[in-house]
Symmetry: C2
Subunit: 212 residues, 2 copies
């Protein structure tokens, strides 16, 4: 029984970071609580082993769905992390993917070998399994870089949105304030959004123009 190789082989896993922009413009990540050894009881990125005939991205999509029920419309690779001591079982190299999902479209539940699933503010993460704090830190850096292109924040928005919602998401991705006037001018000139012609009413405010 088993698979034998002439040289030792590492195991390869995938882990997935689902980012969302929650209310009050908080950047949050979806984590699961591990039900099994190792790191049992600790929060971690959803993930698992890559099938021997499965592409890396397909494995990431499947593991995310199995453990949280989330079907990611797009996954970008962050990179491979492979410090020899990162897992107590054996040498495990993990390839990490991330996805931006609008808050209103994110439905999740704990499943498979996840005991629980929840959203966490990236600025206030608990101590996570293995090297997951470091990895999420790197992913946040990557997001900040990509956010310099203001069209990136649109990934966190639903089909239609107000300018205030857009700016709030962009601020959240960039991690720094954006001047209201400058932001409005830049994104209107950017050509990647258009006014729907409709407005949304909210109590105590002027109706806000909707964009898509």
């Amino acid at each position: 029984m088993g698979y034998t190789y002439e040289y030792p082989h590492p195991a390869v896993t995938v882990d997935v970071i689902v980012f969302t922009v929650a209310e009050e413009a908080r950047l949050e990540v979806l984590l699961i609580r591990r039900a099994q050894y190792p790191f049992e009881g600790m929060w971690a990125m959803p993930g698992g082993f890559v099938g021997i005939d499965e592409s890396l991205k397909r494995a990431a999509w499947r593991e995310l769905k199995e453990e949280t029920g989330v079907r990611a419309a797009s996954l970008q690779q962050l990179g491979a992390f492979g410090h020899p001591d990162r897992d107590p079982r054996e040498r495990i190299i993990t390839v990490v993917y991330y996805s931006a999902i609008p808050y209103g479209e994110l439905r999740f539940r704990a499943d498979s070998d996840a005991a629980d699933a929840a959203l966490f503010d990236v600025a206030a993460l608990p101590r996570l399994a293995a090297d997951h704090n470091m990895i999420i830190g790197r992913a946040v850096e990557r997001l900040r870089q990509q956010g310099a292109d203001l069209s990136f924040a649109l990934r966190f928005l639903p089909g239609t949105f107000t300018m205030a919602e857009y700016r709030s998401a962009a601020v959240c991705v960039l991690g720094r304030p954006l001047d209201k006037r400058n932001f409005g001018r830049k994104v209107r000139h950017g050509g990647w959004i258009e006014a729907t012609g409709e407005h949304r009413n909210s109590a105590g405010h002027r109706p806000a123009a909707l964009y898509r």
Copy 2:
């Protein structure tokens, strides 16, 4: 004899892309000609298997040195590539690193299991082993993105350089022309270079100011 696992394990390799800016502002990569099965006789990125106790970056540094003699001062990860059919031997996932080395500092020779080593213009690559053409294409895209920050091109320059040499490297990294006046103004205001106070003479031209 051998190493046995309950589940099948992929093999993991590292491959390294050394970029340099050659004369006439050509972006070039250092490739080796494979001496062994598979893809014997074909050009490929230098690389090889990751030791079971070796970090990914350390493996990349070692493989580059073993096959080409190049000691990379810095290596950045491009990402993991793991299509199930990319290698005829077994499932091999490769983690790719890249490095920018000034042309004048790049000394290489073929060694280990490399039959030959040479620089190739990225715009005119031959058909390479496995998926290496695709991977180098992705690395060039990454370089173009990083080149938007004009200080990135400095990695291709020696300790002191003329403004013309700097602009030439930046054009090469970005893959598009840069206005001479605008470029000079931007990088002088960027604060990441300074005049050395010295000049270089070249036949038929005015002496050019040197920067560092």
